[in-house]
């Protein structure tokens, strides 16, 4: 068998996944922290202040990566949920459900930092603007997925219901992405483009990319740690969990 396919099959085994997650989560966290530390230092002390917004524009370096993560994590959660629904792979269910609190955290950061940035720039903490409102709905969707997953006693049935909600909610992602173009919005248009001309001056771009990559590593660490904890809960009573608990005692 192809070694990559064999590895994927192995990863579906709960004890193997536990060892894998225990081994790699700390490294992902560490890489995430280091990358974000460099990004934060550059964002606060190296890049120049914006000519219009002054130093408040430094909030961009946490707001934008978090906003991107809020969308990317949701998309990934829906993919895992889809795979779990079609092929009934338990690990995909676990991973989909582990995505939800991390995505909710990044969405909460996006909303809070946007609000803090909005106060000095727009003169208000909140406005029912299309971008802000759709991002708030995204937070509610994440909370709905988390709530549904924890609502029932049967974990697998709850995960299927929550996964279905995650898949349906994907329709919101393009609405969030294009809300600033489809409607008159207080929120500014797209500043940073991965492909094409970005309106962010190149002298201010470096910390953003450190933060973007750093948040990805952080997410990987958090996903592995959360999935590992859920995997242990589902496997409670199994021999390998007992041995693991006794080894750690």
């Amino acid at each position: 068998m192809n070694p990559v396919i064999r590895w994927f099959h192995l990863l579906g085994s709960p004890p193997y996944f536990d060892r894998f997650a225990a081994r790699w989560a700390p490294w992902c966290y560490l890489a995430g922290v280091l990358l974000m530390a460099v990004g934060t230092w550059q964002a606060l002390f190296v890049v120049p202040a914006d000519y219009q917004q002054g130093d408040s524009a430094r909030i961009l370096y946490i707001h934008v990566p978090s906003a991107w993560m809020s969308l990317a994590v949701y998309a990934l959660m829906a993919v895992y949920a889809g795979v779990a629904l079609v092929w009934r792979i338990k690990l995909c269910e676990i991973l989909a459900m582990a995505c939800a609190p991390i995505g909710a955290a990044f969405t909460a950061i996006t909303l809070a930092t946007g609000s803090i940035w909005g106060k000095p720039m727009w003169g208000t903490w909140w406005d029912w603007d299309p971008r802000l409102t759709t991002e708030l709905i995204l937070l509610f969707l994440y909370l709905g997925v988390i709530g549904l997953y924890h609502a029932g006693d049967d974990r697998r049935a709850s995960a299927r219901a929550a996964g279905l909600l995650a898949i349906v909610g994907v329709a919101l992602l393009p609405v969030i992405r294009y809300s600033v173009e489809w409607w008159d919005s207080l929120h500014q248009g797209q500043t940073v483009r991965v492909f094409g001309q970005s309106s962010l001056d190149p002298s201010m771009a470096a910390p953003l990319w450190w933060m973007v990559v750093g948040t990805k590593f952080w997410f990987a660490g958090s996903l592995l740690a959360r999935a590992r904890a859920d995997n242990l809960r589902r496997e409670a009573g199994r021999d390998w969990v007992r041995k693991l608990a006794e080894e750690g005692a």
Binding site: I62, I109, W117, W218, A225, L232, V241
Partner: protein
């Protein structure tokens, strides 16, 4: 630095939420392992309990 309280506030929110995101799964993991240890301890006990009851 202009707008300093806003910048500090935003970065503080970011740090606090990520700290929660780091601690929550660790605490959950600790709970699960502790529950597994207790289950294992309970599973070893019943033989003695059954013996006491039969006396």
């Amino acid at each position: 630095m202009t707008y300093l309280p806003y910048v500090i506030g935003a970065y503080a929110v970011f740090a606090v939420v990520l700290l929660w995101d780091f601690l929550a799964p660790r605490l959950q993991l600790r709970r699960e392992l502790r529950a597994a240890r207790l289950r294992a301890a309970r599973a070893r006990k019943p033989a003695a309990t059954a013996g006491e009851l039969s006396r």
